[in-house]
Amino acid sequence: MTTSNPTFTPGSQSGGAVKKRRRGLSMEHGVLYIIVAILAVVFMFPFFWTMMSSLKSIQEISKFPPVWIPETLQWGNYNKTLTIVPFMLWSYNSIFVVTLSTLGTVLSASLVAYSFARFRYRGRDVIFMITLGTMMLPAQVTLIPQFILFHKLGWINTLYPLWLPAWFGGGAFAIFLLRQFILALPKDLDEAALIDGASYFRIFWQILLPLCKAVVATIAVISFIGSWNDFVNPLIYLQLPEKFTLAVGLNYFKNQPEMGGEPTQHLLMAASVMVILPVILLFFATQRYFVQGIVLSGIKG
């Protein structure tokens, strides 16, 4: 992004006109700032309310009119949440699934993209077109047969259905993005290494993959967030609470309004905060890659 100075346009205008224009623009900026600031408050308010609710006491949570900021911040709510539901177990399951599916997506998609981008063989372009076609298909169609497949394999109430498919190519979007990226790299690199006697796999692993770091990071972040936020798949495959990931665990917790005779709304809010926070932190750490990935997908489409 180039940063230009929007308030001043050098030209043949007289000093007075420039001044006038400048004042007009800065007033306009003021109005814009007010609009953007109001919108920012609207967008942030639900988060603020959730955060505050998670720090209220049982009395404060159900008071009317509602308490905006709790008198003393009940950080103990978070501790209590970890024990009232198997939150640690759910977190472990989520981390397990997310790690394996992200790793699988990155490794297998880049290998497949390398094949599409650099090798010539019969059927390659047809298979690539079919690959792109899978992006158009809604998940509902494949969901039922996949469920039956995993059911026959005896994998209901296991985590396999949630991460194993990622190791078989990682999906069309990841393959597509990586292929475009590898196509843009000069082919001389591969050829020089090939003449020096490097194997194809070594060319991929030691030459191309390091050059793809940025796009691999993009895919890793998108895959991480997609897998962390996934609800439908764990909902279908996991029925035992001790197998839940955080997404379905939170839904399960939500459907238990009382536990041990006490309202748990404030604890539910604490659980929500703990489910949301990791994705937001990850986003802050990797914002550049993330935004780039979205934008790339939009421009290519």
């Binding site: 919108l39 988060f47 008071k63 469920f147 497949l149 078989f168 997404a247 421009i299």
Partner: protein, 321 residues
């Protein structure tokens, strides 16, 4: 590379095996390349067959069967489809509800996203912070989103009705009222969606509008609206089409939000089509009927996408052509 391989083709041909020739290789080197190409493709080839092509075929097969997973499937012909159209009390209503939802959410969120993108494109200081703030709802897991909005919409002690109370309005029951639950879900969808991918893609589109075109229009005396209408809008129309197609598909697929926030209720007022498929297939284990519903859904999505792409010839401008 070509200079090396082509003359040797004649000599090498007999040594290339039958598999290599099937792969389209003429020389040993090309056959080696093809072999490794296939090896690296293999994970996806398996994935494509096991998780995509196989399931698509099986889904079509199940849609003419009655199947509850436990006993073997039984042929029923088109009975599943006729049942959907004539014998299922929730088929048409759930479809109508889904369209109803989409018809409001899609235009509002496209308009809202474009508005936010234009605001962010004014090069105000701190744009990055605002972009992040607008984007955060989109990152939030849909379950958490639903959970926290149920709390915000709480009829008696929720902050929304409290704020409405300050200005003298008695707030409705929102998610607990069958007249308001749909509106509440629309509000949540807009909050979650306008600052997301759609906005970022618009922003990229706006930044791709050539500055010299805008300046030329300005010199010709175009005002702000004229510049937007005659320069910016045509230039970003491909982006608009892309967002529209994805927006329609996304809205028609609405599931998690309704499933968690209202379970389709109260009294079916937010029972969307995707919930109906889920219930038939995974609560009642009617895999055959569920597959038929899924195929009807695919045809609807494809029709919408096709109509949009077809009509786009009239209103999308491609600068490259």
């Amino acid at each position: 590379m070509a200079a090396i391989t082509s003359p040797s083709t004649v000599y090498q041909q007999p040594r290339v095996g039958i598999l290599a020739r099937m792969a389209g290789a003429k020389s040993k080197m090309e056959s080696n390349e093809a072999k490794w190409g296939y090896i690296f493709l293999l994970p996806w080839l398996i994935g494509l067959i096991v998780f995509w092509i196989g399931p698509i075929l099986m889904s079509a097969y199940f849609s003419v069967m009655e199947y509850d997973v436990l006993s073997p499937p039984e042929w029923v012909g088109i009975a599943n489809y006729t049942r959907a159209f004539t014998g299922d009390k929730q088929f048409w209503p759930s479809l109508a509800r889904t369209f109803n939802f989409s018809i409001i959410v899609v235009p509002l969120s496209i308009f809202g996203s474009l508005f936010l993108a234009i605001l962010l494109n004014q090069k105000l200081k701190g744009t990055n912070i605002f972009r992040t703030i607008f984007f955060l709802p989109h990152l939030t897991p849909a379950v958490a989103l639903a959970v926290l909005w149920v709390w915000l919409f709480h009829p008696s002690i929720g902050p929304i009705n409290t704020l409405l109370g300050f200005i003298g309005i008695e707030g409705p029951g929102w998610l607990t009222s069958k007249y308001w639950a749909m509106d509440a879900l629309i509000i949540v969808s807009l909050w979650a969606g306008v600052g997301g991918n759609t906005m970022l893609i618009f922003l990229a589109g706006l930044q791709g509008v050539p500055q010299e075109l805008l300046e030329a229009a300005e010199i010709d005396g175009a005002g702000r609206w004229a510049k937007f209408h005659n320069v910016t809008l045509p230039m970003i129309s491909p982006t608009l089409l892309f967002n529209l197609v994805l927006g329609v598909i996304g809205a028609l697929k609405v599931f998690t939000l309704a499933f968690v926030a209202t379970q389709g209720g109260p009294s079916f007022s937010t029972w969307f089509y995707a919930l109906h498929i889920y219930q038939q297939a995974f609560a009642y284990f009617r895999m055959g009927y569920g597959s038929a519903l899924a195929w009807i859904f695919v045809l609807i999505l494809l029709t919408f996408t096709y109509v949009q792409l077809y009509s786009s010839k009239r209103w999308v401008y491609y600068a490259g052509e």
